[in-house]
Amino acid sequence: MIKEHILFADLIKGLSITIKKLFGPSVTLHYPIQRRELPERMRFLHKLDLTPEGKIKCIACGICERICPPKCIKMTRGTREDGKKGLTEYEIDIGRCIFCGLCVEVCPEEAISMTNIYELATYNKADTVYTMDRLVRDVPEEKKAEVR
């Protein structure tokens, strides 16, 4: 113990670790230029899925609206343009959403899913409310940056 104190062994050991790190590879990413590859299960912006015929899968059962813990989903049922009863309006307030993924889990029709679009900041508060026309879109891989 005393020997270590006189020889500065503790400080030399610490310094050698930091100096080694000086020449090591970088562990950080230069964010806007470099982007991480995100896993498939990423829970970010919602998406309303379509059937192969191009219709909304949602049957307006309202289960996602009821289970949502911060109550950020609002849906309206009514008569649609084609005369059938069903979903007419659907909106998610991303500003309130906590991205827990319960709405995706409880959906009996697998009509709602989550994408890995994570850049959701806006200049206007009104833009945080995603209405049906912004949620119903199969976002292609290269256009993900545009959806903000």
Binding site: H5, G14, I67
Partner: protein, 391 residues
């Protein structure tokens, strides 16, 4: 004129916006020169009323909210909550799910201890370990991202299992982590443990003895740093912990340095548990009890969806009337859920016993008579998070 003997007492507010209070904690210090005469912790700046919220939510709906208790170890909070509900409902968990739960709980423990190590070093004045620990923690968060899709608020554990199966990529990442992490941990260890400045800032500082630690209700590493051999994983075992081989580190000194060494050793023990789990985990099988009422409708065969599934999701799973307490060993200490059920789908009352709340109010006993420079290292060594203190 004020003489040298009769100094004036000064009151100082530490916080609520002080980087070393780990959140929005406020401490009113009464100082006599440099000696601390009294500390009054004040909580409530992050109060969200979680216990009241629980009364108006189904058991399933409250899951994401539990993540917000101790937001650096969300996985462990999820697990503790689910185990409490399972105890209330008397539910079985498949073997594979049990192993997945231990994997994520121990990874969560390592991640939480890494944050503690980095911020404690930063508070005391050593900045370098902060970067090293956050680099290692990042690899753990990448693993969690792979299995559940979130970085901090996981919402992964479910009553009766886990929400998604682990992927082969996760196991690869985990094996790589177990190979590299012990070496990387030696960097922080080499920078701090024997360092003379570190030792003089932590040794014989903030001492709490064996009896005080028990009577003030400390738990977790803070209790074990005072020489009490008490760990809920051994003493009131849950899950598959009894079948795993690990030691409980404890040191009799009761100072900041002892708590530091205990936590470092706990990281090593967690790595040991993880290694055993990776060997023993069954390669196939259910990750969720198929008979659990919490299974989501879309997981069932299409013909099986009935009106009662909708009702179950909206009104909640009816738990038998009664009360249950379950405490789990979290990185910070004992996290307990006391649930009173009146037979409805929502709890009648939920009391959450959080370790940080107890640790904050034991602070006056620990720092009284100490120097003002030491309070920062004591606060760091108790490792509380204000999300848990205020609930």
């Amino acid at each position: 004129m004020i003489g040298i003997e009769e100094t004036k007492r000064v009151r100082i507010n530490m916080g609520p916006q002080h980087p070393a209070t780990h959140g929005v904690g406020r401490f009113i210090l009464t100082l006599n020169g440099e000696i601390i005469e009294d500390v009054k912790p004040i909580c409530g700046y992050l109060h969200r009323g979680l216990e009241k919220l629980a009364e108006n939510m189904t058991y399933q709906q409250f899951m994401p909210i539990v993540d917000r208790l101790d937001y650096v170890a969300s996985m462990n909070n999820d697990l503790a909550y689910c185990l409490a509900i399972e105890k209330l409902l008397g539910m079985e968990v498949p073997e594979r799910a049990e192993y997945i739960r231990i994997l994520i709980a121990e990874l969560g423990r390592i991640a939480s201890h890494l944050i503690w190590l980095g911020t404690m070093a930063l508070d005391i004045g050593a900045m370098t370990p902060y970067f090293y620990t956050f680099r290692d923690r990042e690899t753990i968060y990448d693993m969690f991202e792979e299995i559940c899709g979130a970085r901090l608020m996981y919402n992964y554990v479910r009553m009766g299992g886990v929400s998604n199966d682990i992927t082969p990529k996760f196991m690869e990442m985990l094996k790589h982590f177990l190979d590299t992490f012990p070496k990387l941990m030696k960097e922080s260890d080499g920078l701090l443990t024997k360092n003379r400045i570190w030792m003089s800032r932590t040794k014989d500082v903030g001492v709490i003895n064996y009896d005080d630690a028990i009577s003030w209700g400390l738990s977790g590493p803070c209790l074990r740093g005072s020489g009490v051999n008490w760990d809920l994983r051994k003493n009131r075992p849950y899950g598959i912990y009894p079948s795993l081989d690990f030691d409980i580190p404890y040191l009799p000194e009761g100072d900041v340095y002892a708590r530091y060494l205990v936590r470092l050793e706990e990281i090593n023990q967690s790595v040991r548990i993880l290694r055993q789990c990776v060997e023993k985990i069954p390669s196939g099988g259910d990750y969720m009890n198929p008979e659990s009422p919490f299974v989501r409708p879309m997981k069932k065969p299409k013909e099986g969806i009935a009106l009662k599934d909708f009702v179950l999701q909206i009104r909640g799973v009816k738990a038998p009337a009664g009360e249950v307490y379950f405490g789990a060993e979290n990185p910070k200490g004992e996290l307990g859920f006391y649930i009173v059920s009146d037979g409805a789908g929502k709890p009648y009352r939920m009391k959450i016993r959080t370790p940080s709340f107890v640790h904050v109010f034991a602070l006056p006993v620990i720092v009284k008579g100490g120097l003002i420079a030491d309070i920062v290292s004591v606060i760091s060594s108790l490792d509380f998070v204000f999300g848990e203190v205020d609930r």
